[in-house]
Assembly symmetry: C2
Homo-oligomer: 180 residues x 2
């Protein structure tokens, strides 16, 4: 994993990919699959929506840190496997053969298999909506990884894979923050 400038971290979340969120409850690392994510500014600040029914909720609220990891299309069945079992009764890192890579700012690991990882601290929880607001502290990318296409969950059990990329940088210039 190599450093990605923090000013570019939101570009990992803004396209709306399926993500993996890594937490630790003080005893065990856990990981969940989540597509209910949102960029909130260019700082970078992100939101995810979950709730008390989710095993990672307590760890997010109590330990106030996580890693958002970005899987790619070759990981689709791992992503679904992680999303269809619970950390309450499953030790997901060994079960899914995930490689822990030490983070620099948080006490939970990056996922070595993923294209990118963002270390985050929880800066607010909007309890009435289950919204967890995150501030990115550092971002990492694996530039040697050949497969870079992300997954987008439709929500009905189908997934859309990244297709063609279109460049409209000139037309968008007035809306791009510095460093992007």
């Amino acid at each position: 994993m190599e450093t990605l400038p923090l000013s570019r971290a939101f570009t990992l979340i803004e396209p709306g990919p399926v993500t993996l969120v890594v937490t630790n409850d003080g005893h065990k690392d856990n990981v969940m699959t989540i597509t209910w994510t949102m960029v909130m500014d260019f700082s970078p600040t992100f939101a995810i929506t979950t709730g008390p029914w989710n095993h990672s909720w307590a760890a997010l609220c109590d330990r106030r840190e996580c890693v958002i990891a970005i899987p790619t299309v070759d990981m689709i069945d791992t992503v679904i496997g992680i999303g269809t079992c619970s950390g309450a009764d499953t030790d997901k890192f060994p079960k899914f053969g995930l490689t822990r890579v030490a983070a620099h700012h948080v006490g939970v690991p990056l996922i070595g298999q993923c294209l990118a990882n963002i270390e985050c601290r929880v800066i607010d929880v909007v309890e009435r909506h289950g919204i967890v607001v995150l501030e990115g502290l550092a971002a990492w990318i694996d530039p040697a990884r050949k497969e870079k296409r992300m997954l987008h969950a439709v929500g009905d059990g189908t997934f859309i894979v990244d297709g063609e990329k279109l460049d409209r940088r000139e037309a968008m210039r007035s809306k791009l923050p510095d460093g992007v």
Copy 2:
């Protein structure tokens, strides 16, 4: 436009496409481009993030309704045009040749050119984060439209187009809500 069951409306937002948000301030329809969106449950409830610097903010907070329209790849330059000017000094419906289609539940129009539209009411505003929470009231889709590929903003002036679709409905069965 044909009715899309409301139970499926979240499947338009969950993949993370670029959206257009239509509002009316009591005098004039306006439309903005926004990719800071998030599904919040299956009800359907969505969130968008914006703020007082945005011309649509006052209309969202005061009139408490909007339409979320889903454009496709053939509309990319319209989407960018809408996103790089302001309703403060531009009448965007005529400028971009957008066709108004009457909504059933809200006083703002659907956009006839878009693949799908969701009529929404504002159920909460989390002011400290600029988060506007929306409840879908009705959803519409144009099944005759040939181009269905959505756009995903990377945030750096490039856009990813929907590619291949992968079916994992069987593996996801335990996580799919009724009617999806």
